[in-house]
């Protein structure tokens, strides 16, 4: 029931539509965690400084703690729960698991969502602060460890799993570009 302080909205999360009435103060993160029982997105700081709540909104990385739920209506939201294809893990998830890209696991959903965003941003040719040649015609720079570290720096990990996270992102990025190439050849 909508009221002066709440609104009925529809959130599209991982392809599913959810109708709910939210307090206008409710962040997207709290709506996911408290209302939709999607607790994979984590609350590490609740003020946009740690990245644990990172989700993809229309395919782009966003910290869901700084987004009001009412403002997320009509957007395609992808959370960690939507990354795997049934029982088959997303290549980024699989690489994190195989290379031990986490310890306590609390920053992990945000790291993985961020990594998926990084790989897409890189493939689309976006430069980063450490990209040497930023001319559009230069195309995507090599996804070096420095590029990965720079692009992933909005996601803090207090356990210090950074080394294996960066390896996992590199592995998944390699696997993905290979998959794209194969698909391309088939087509």
């Amino acid at each position: 029931m909508a009221s002066p302080t709440s609104s009925a909205i529809t959130l599209t999360v991982n392809g599913d539509k959810h109708e709910l009435t939210v307090d206008h103060r409710t962040t997207l993160l709290d709506a996911l965690r408290e209302r939709l029982d999607l607790t994979g997105s984590k609350k590490g700081c609740d003020q946009g400084q740690c990245g644990a709540c990172t989700v993809l909104i229309d395919g782009r990385r966003a910290v869901s703690c700084l987004q009001l739920a009412v403002a997320a209506e009509g957007r395609e939201i992808t959370t960690i729960e939507g990354m795997a294809d049934g029982e088959e893990l997303h290549p980024v998830q699989q690489a994190f698991l195989d290379l031990d890209g986490f310890q306590c696991g609390y920053c992990t959903p945000g790291q993985i969502c961020s990594a998926v965003g990084v790989i897409a941003e890189h493939a689309a040719g976006w430069p980063s602060a450490v990209t040497e040649d930023v001319r559009p015609e230069a195309g995507p720079p090599p996804l070096t460890p420095d590029e990965i570290r720079e692009r992933m720096s909005g996601n803090l990990c207090r356990c210090g799993a950074y080394v294996s996270i960066a390896q996992a992102v590199a592995r998944a990025a390699g696997a993905e570009s290979e998959a794209v190439r194969e698909t391309g050849e088939a087509a």
Binding site: R25, Q47, M83, D100, Q103, C104
Partner: protein, 714 residues
């Protein structure tokens, strides 16, 4: 059915093989639920209100206007909260955290002291009401300024698990006999654990039993302290903590669990209390700042005659806690005069606590920096200096060592790092705008164990279930214990299920002091071995299974007295831009001797994580306190920086063979040794790069700049 363990499988050991985490899939899919994520019907949300003054008394809490706000159910404060017991010593041998004994009187001993809990139907309502609540104080003058020479400094009688003062040998005589003396003061700042998951707990009463879903480092510990505080039978409290988003020493009994229990008691419905990140800075403990004076006296060849280490740290006005920095050298280096002492100053600040390698982390920064200075003065290679000061018995205790492979760590590390080619002279190497240097330091951390119980069950379906009140705070304990149980039972690990984090499983050690996996593995080994022997005699397993229980209290008591420690050699290469003050770590290598490594995959992660803490400690971490307000400046993850991805280069950890034939379990733990010496290795590398000694952490750009414009040591 008949269950057999498989002696043939004994040849295929699980211990020592790299295994991904058994809960790993849950963690990468978001399915793993942490304490604040377990749903309860009728759950109410509590929000803590912390004092805004640094010292004084609460004059009044204006609860009525807040109680009239939508959804607000209760405002608990010292005027109406249930009374609890606090005059006891808990299972770790210390009284409860004073800030956890919430709402018992009107006294405010520091900024960020809990003064009220607002409970409401939703977290939004609770938060707004808590931020609206007006609390009036009678403010008193405060002192939060920690410094060398503070007039209130005193020598504590005890320093927790270490002796406060050890003074062996004639200091003045040994100094007089020394050809070379290093005498320097080092400081480390206030540092915070900042586990990624803020502290969270939900409490409810269930048929006369108190049930708490928590995020902690030991559910036995939390359950027993809550039982004592609320005067309950120990069996009437159940604490569960299945997944823990980091701990590092901070996740014990804190204000949030106690406040949640109070509210659940008053309201007779489940209540969850989650700390905000800002609240974590004042409610969850921290590492005290230190001022350390180290005096080393040596012969011309570097052999130590004097090891004097005096450390001043801060504590609160409500409890004594000693950061045992000066103890770092007691089992590491021998000297004719071996003086290591602690002093404290009581300030109007929260009580410090254990934080990853308590004592050793700041202590090793000072001691291992001083050794590097001694090596420079003597013209001796830093590794040769340490090898030359290798003791054959505990330098202070006189006890034999269990296994001590520090020299092997340095040898292997030097080979892999390329130390032999190093020119010891500082300030010579340049790469564009960067000055380059390398440094090394020793690491050591005590290998202990605490009494634990375990239950191992042979199930009727041929699998095995281990139940133990262990905690996996990211260490990989759950996986390591699975491998230990599998090897002892002589079965494949896929047939073993390890259940942890439930105080109903019986008393067990906490995840702390690098003792968790060692303590729990010991209990599981005893129970699993007996179960295997029993099944060998009669493999019939009834539907309810066959369970064997163990208790290591006796075995621990029978352990011979020895100096048992893990060791390591830390190496760092840094680049310093003296025009901007920027310091970048380019690579780090740590070689460790840490007993039997159960799971190389997760052990490596832990060691590397510790080393990354060392980078943070050397270059980034520092909590700033406003002297006038008495509270933190920038108490958040932007104001308090620890290493992010871009700060962390190639960091590599590995180990040498390390066995103690007299140790029945021979696991040493790898949680803390990784940070020990790491900050000193970085600081020593900064000296090698620039020729400037940085004795004050963190090595901030302004300190680098000042040192080079002022042309003096920082």
């Amino acid at each position: 059915m008949t269950t057999t363990t498989d002696p043939a499988a004994a040849a295929v050991r699980s211990i020592g093989t790299a295994r991904t985490r058994v809960e790993g899939r849950d963690k990468v899919t978001g399915a793993a639920r942490y304490a604040g994520e377990i749903p309860f019907a009728e759950l109410a949300h509590g929000w803590l209100v912390l004092s805004t003054v640094a010292r004084g008394r609460v004059r009044s809490v204006e609860a009525d206007p807040v109680l009239a706000m939508p959804g607000v159910l209760a405002v608990l404060h010292h005027g109406n909260a249930p009374r609890v017991e606090s005059d006891f010593v808990g299972m770790l041998g210390v009284p409860p955290d004073p800030a956890a004994v919430v709402f018992q009187d009107d006294r405010v001993p520091h900024a960020g002291w809990p003064v009220a809990l607002v409970v409401a139907e939703t977290s939004e309502q609770a938060r707004e009401a808590a931020e609206t609540l007006v609390v009036h104080y009678d403010q008193e003058p405060h002192d939060v300024a920690f410094s060398a020479g503070h007039p209130g400094a005193y020598a504590p009688e005890s320093a927790g698990y270490a002796e406060a003062a050890v003074e062996k040998g004639d200091l003045e005589a040994a100094l007089a006999a020394s050809s070379v003396v290093v005498d320097a003061e080092y400081t480390t700042p206030e540092e915070h654990h900042n586990a990624m998951e803020p502290h969270a707990a939900a409490a409810r009463w269930d048929g006369g039993r108190l049930e708490v879903v928590d995020s902690n480092q030991g559910s036995t510990w939390v359950a027993s302290e809550l039982a004592q505080m609320f005067s309950l039978d120990p069996g009437a409290v159940r604490v569960r903590s299945e997944h823990v988003g980091g701990g590092f020493g901070s996740k014990g009994v804190r204000a949030h669990q106690v406040a949640a229990v109070m509210a659940a008691t008053v309201l007779q419905r489940p209540v969850r209390v989650v700390m905000t990140r800002r609240q974590v800075f004042s409610l969850a403990g921290y590492r005290s700042p230190t001022v350390q004076r180290v005096r080393l006296g040596a012969d011309a060849d570097g052999r130590l005659r004097v090891l004097e280490h005096r450390s001043l740290s801060a504590t609160s006005t409500v409890r004594e806690f000693v950061e045992t920095s000066a103890a770092a050298g007691r089992a590491l280096y021998p000297a004719d005069a071996h003086h290591t002492t602690h002093e404290l100053v009581r300030l109007d600040v929260p009580t410090p606590t254990w934080m990853r390698a308590p004592g050793e982390a700041p202590g090793s920064f000072a001691l291992e920096s001083a050794l590097d200075e001694l090596a420079e003065k003597c013209g001796v290679d830093p590794i040769a200096l340490r090898t030359r000061n290798e003791p054959d018995r505990g330098p202070v205790s006189g006890l034999p060592f269990g296994s001590r492979n520090l020299v092997a760590c340095f040898e292997e590390g030097a080979r892999r790092f390329g130390w032999a080619d190093r020119d010891p002279r500082p300030g010579l190497r340049r790469d564009g705008r960067w000055l380059l240097g390398t440094g090394t330091a020793a690491a050591s951390f005590h290998a202990g164990a605490g009494p634990s119980t375990a239950a191992v069950t042979a199930e009727a379906d041929g699998t095995f279930t281990v139940r133990i009140t262990a905690a996996d705070i990211g260490t990989g304990a759950r996986t390591a214990l699975t491998l230990v149980a599998a090897d002892t039972l002589e079965v494949a690990p896929e047939r073993v299920r390890v259940r942890i984090g439930d105080s109903d499983f019986g008393p067990a050690m906490i995840a702390g002091g690098s003792m968790g996996t060692r303590s729990w593995a010991w209990a599981i080994t005893i129970a699993a071995r007996e179960l295997r022997e029993r099944l060998a005699l009669d493999g019939t397993v009834p539907p309810e299974g066959v369970t064997v229980r163990s208790d290591t209290t006796e075995a621990l008591g029978a352990l011979s007295q020895k100096e048992r420690h893990s060791y390591g050699a830390q190496f760092a290469e840094v680049a310093v831009d003296t025009a901007t003050g920027e310091v970048r770590v380019r690579r780090m290598l740590g070689i460790f001797a840490a007993g039997r490594i159960v799971n190389p995959l997760t052990a490596r992660s832990q060691l590397v994580g510790g080393m990354i803490w060392g980078i943070s400690m050397a270059l980034h971490e520092e909590a700033a306190r406003d002297r006038n307000l008495g509270s933190h400046v920038g108490a958040d993850l932007a104001g308090y920086h620890f290493a992010a991805h871009a700060d962390v280069p190639a960091v590599e950890a590995d180990w040498v063979d390390d066995q103690d034939p007299d140790d029945p379990i021979d696991i040493k733990g790898v949680g803390e040794v990784g940070i020990v010496g790491a900050a000193a290795a970085v600081a020593n590398a900064v000296w090698h790069a620039t020729g400037v000694r940085h004795r004050h952490l963190p090595i901030r750009p302004d300190r680098v700049l000042l040192a080079h414009t002022g042309a003096h040591d920082a």
